[in-house]
């Protein structure tokens, strides 16, 4: 079958979705996808980021489709013509979806462990705008502890339900689902019980945002300060491939993830033993540096660029200020007569 996306033709097999066809072409025409995950059955169609305009239905029925369609769940027809990046309507719709996704998102990227490898950041970089029209109070959830390995930040969740599919398909027994409805839908283990399964950690990898993050890596580093390496080990867990990316800081392995491709989908799922328990360099056979796409922030810390010594002109002043701050933090060093701004209470400055 022949399909045309943004003027680029490609031959695909029957049953290929528009998104898959676009990914075969690659480049700018590939629609963004927040909920679709090719490795998980039943995902897709929910986030509406990947909407495309079908300008010609097929060779047999050339009528255009009246509504924009979700490319991740719409199959290609022979002779189909699709406008993705080239359509004004599609750009508008993607902007709208991005805005909708962000209105209730806390935008706490500076303290979020996902920052730097977050699909929502990428999406808003591409389709978001700098100002907000949302002046209402954001919806929030009570924090919920789902165990000592995985950190759940429900406020950041965009309800793509990828993790629910992981729970359904990879791990045995449903321990994880969606509660409530509308903008109060929440991902939950339902009973706040720890997720007790050898493959539960893959929820972290499939989460497009920082809603599910690695508790053993929490606040340890920004991802772009780590150096990612391909590594593997002989894993005895049935079903685990043992092939991972280890994220190093100096000689320390700070985090282990599955290997992700250019669409941030894992190549193969890994077990919790590999992910959480093997943090010694001696556990792994390091293969070599892991490559990331050109524009990724992770490349800020790449291996090839010569690093100059950073010189901060005002360093002396900063360090001096830090001394004063440190003094204030340990109260013992503060004179009882000294106000918090550093001046004496009976000095002229403080009247």
């Amino acid at each position: 079958m022949k399909v045309t996306i943004d003027g680029q033709e490609i031959e695909v097999e029957a049953g290929t979705t528009i998104l898959q066809a676009a990914r075969m072409i690659g480049g700018e025409s590939v629609p963004p996808a927040m909920c679709y995950y090719s490795k998980l059955k039943g995902t897709g169609g929910k986030c509406r980021c990947c909407l495309v305009d079908v300008t010609k239905g097929s060779e047999a029925d050339p009528r255009p489709m009246p509504k924009l369609v979700a490319s991740c769940v719409t199959g290609c027809q022979d002779g189909m013509e699709i406008a993705s990046k080239s359509s004004e309507r599609v750009t508008e719709a993607r902007k709208a979806v991005t805005e909708f996704l962000l209105i209730n998102h806390p935008l706490d990227c500076p303290v979020c462990d996902q920052a730097g490898e977050c699909d929502l950041q990428n999406l808003s970089f591409e389709h978001g705008k700098s100002e907000t029209r949302f002046i209402e109070e954001k919806r929030t959830f009570e924090p919920e502890d789902i165990g000592d390995k995985i950190q759940l930040h429900m406020n950041r969740c965009i309800v793509c339900q990828r993790c629910v599919e992981v729970a359904d398909q990879l791990t045995d027994g449903r321990v994880h689902g969606v509660l409530n409805r509308g903008d109060h839908s929440q991902i939950s283990t339902c009973v706040s019980a720890a997720i007790d399964n050898e493959f539960s950690g893959n929820m972290i990898d499939v989460c497009p945002v920082g809603a599910l993050t690695d508790k053993t890596f929490r606040f340890k580093s920004r991802v772009w300060f780590n150096k990612p390496f391909n590594a593997h080990r002989e894993c005895t867990t049935p079903g685990c491939c043992g092939k991972t990316t280890v994220w190093m800081f100096g000689d320390e392995i700070q985090r282990v993830t599955a290997r992700k491709d250019e669409y941030h989908e894992v190549e193969d799922f890994i077990c919790n033993t590999c992910r959480f328990d093997k943090k010694e360099v001696s556990d792994w056979v390091i293969e070599g540096p892991r490559r990331f796409e050109k524009d990724s922030v992770i490349n800020q810390n790449n291996y090839t660029r010569k690093m100059d010594k950073v010189v901060i002109e005002t360093e002396k002043g900063i360090l001096m200020g830090r001394d004063i701050d440190r003094k204030k933090i340990s109260m013992s060093e503060i004179d009882y007569n000294e106000k918090i701004d550093g001046n004496l209470i009976d000095s002229k400055k403080n009247g």
Partner: protein, 455 residues
């Protein structure tokens, strides 16, 4: 007097019971269909009748039936959608409560037409007492040999079950209803595949509204052509209208499609005119999701023709100057009503009922509700009207199921026709704080405050 098809026998004492219903000629269509007709002939008859889906979308029922996949050989199902949750609509409840056997009869005849041996009535959880009525009716029909194995010796088997929903509006959407019926969370499915190919338990399924199915016995007893003779154009037969609001006689009425809106509102046979001497302000003709009509577009279309109670006439002029017949939830407002408050109330409903599966509806309905709430309570900003317009236009058409559209249409129509009321709320917040605005001071009297200044 208009012709009655569904509610003809409604006042017969004891029509709820099998004996009286049977004595009054009930279950004749089952006998006729099973003994004298083939399933395809029944489908053909319904096709000829031009009967359209009464749930809101108005899709021709016969055509829907003919789409069902009979080639695959998989078992087929008929599901009756009794999850009537649209604000302003209460016709199915009335039908099921007072003449339950009509629905059972329709279910048997329709199931026979589709070749379904296992059919369901999915009823909303709030109708618990109606559920009990239906269960009793089914037990009576079964005892009389109209359900079960080998009905009337024809060799046709049918089991009919009533399933109670958990109280979610979204389960009125047919694929969400099927999910819920399967025991899952009521999230709409992605289409295609359509239920006619893969519905309940991945089997071909037809989902029809209560009123649609209840019209089938009459069509079979008489003929499709007779049914098509009632009404105007493509709006054939009769329709139940749930009339509510500031009219004298609220209730459920059966009308022949084609009655004028003026007659329906003002004749003593139906609504009987306005409740008080306060003038008519607005009308929602088909349940909360359809666009609201301002007074000048109710009796006459924009082209100056009489507005009729038909699918076509009510939608004349598109959304710019028309509305929809929808599910027949006829809500009348006099000039005490605040359109902003009404729109907020509808938005609150959609916010509460959004399933949360897809982004535009999940986030957008909540946003609409919050902005409208602010305006209604005197905290609006001038740019909020434009914001509302923008939000609703971004929800519409971008969602998985029609709930997103249903949430945006009332907002769009309210802004289109009653923009000055929104401006009034924003510019004179002190006047709307006490919530009794428009009761003592109708909007007509204060309209000049927000009128465009011409220099």
């Amino acid at each position: 007097m208009g012709r009655k098809i569904l509610l003809d026998k409604i006042n017969v004492p004891g029509i709820k019971t099998y004996e009286v219903y049977r004595r009054e000629g009930g279950y004749a269509s089952v006998e006729k269909a099973l003994k004298k007709m083939t399933p395809d002939e029944v489908v053909e008859e319904v096709k000829t009748s031009g009967l359209r889906g009464r749930g809101g979308a108005g899709f021709p029922a016969g055509m829907k039936w003919s789409f069902i996949d009979k080639k695959s050989g998989n078992p087929r199902h008929l599901v009756c959608n009794a999850d009537e949750s649209e604000p302003g609509t209460f016709k199915d409840r009335y039908l099921m409560e007072y003449i339950p056997h009509l629905l059972i009869e329709g279910m048997i005849t329709s199931s026979y037409a589709l070749g379904a041996n296992l059919s369901y009535i999915y009823i909303r959880g709030e109708y618990m007492w109606v559920y009990k009525i239906l269960e009793r009716a089914i037990a009576e029909a079964k005892a009389a040999g109209f359900l079960g194995k080998n009905i009337l010796g024809s060799g046709y088997d049918l089991e009919l079950f009533v399933q109670i929903g958990g109280g979610a509006y979204i389960c009125g959407e047919e694929t969400a209803l099927i999910e819920s019926l399967e025991g899952k969370r009521g999230n709409p499915r992605l289409k295609p595949p359509f239920p006619a190919v893969k519905g309940l338990w991945q089997n071909p399924t037809v989902v029809n509204n209560v009123e649609t199915i209840a019209a089938v016995p009459w069509i079979i007893n008489n003929s499709g052509a007779d049914y098509a003779g009632i009404g105007i154009g493509r709006s054939t037969g009769t329709k139940l209208i749930s009339a509510s609001g500031n009219i004298k006689n609220q209730g459920v009425y059966e009308i022949e499609l084609g009655v004028s809106v003026y007659e329906f509102m003002n004749s003593d046979e139906y609504c009987g005119g306005m409740q008080t001497d306060r003038p008519l302000k607005a009308l929602v003709p088909g349940g909360s999701s359809v666009p609201i009509l301002p007074a000048n577009l109710i009796y006459k279309t924009a082209a100056g023709e009489d507005r009729l109670m038909t699918y076509e006439s009510l939608s004349d002029g598109g959304f710019a100057t028309g509305s929809m017949l929808g599910s027949g939830g006829f809500i009348v407002y006099d000039d005490r009503a605040c359109i902003v408050r009404n729109t907020w109330n509808f938005s609150r409903f959609y916010h509460h009922e959004s399933c949360g599966q897809c982004t535009p509806c999940r986030e957008g309905t909540g946003w609409l509700e919050k902005v409208l709430h602010r305006i209604e309570n005197g905290h609006g900003r001038e740019e909020d009207i434009e914001l509302l317009w923008s939000i609703q236009s971004k929800i519409e058409g971008n969602t998985i199921c029609p709930l997103g559209d249903a949430a945006s249409w009332p907002v769009a129509a309210a802004i289109r026709h009653f923009k000055d009321e929104f401006e009034y709320h924003i510019r004179f917040p002190e006047k709307v704080r006490n919530r009794d605005h428009f009761v003592n001071e109708p909007f007509e009297k204060v309209k000049h405050l927000v009128a465009k200044q011409t220099v």
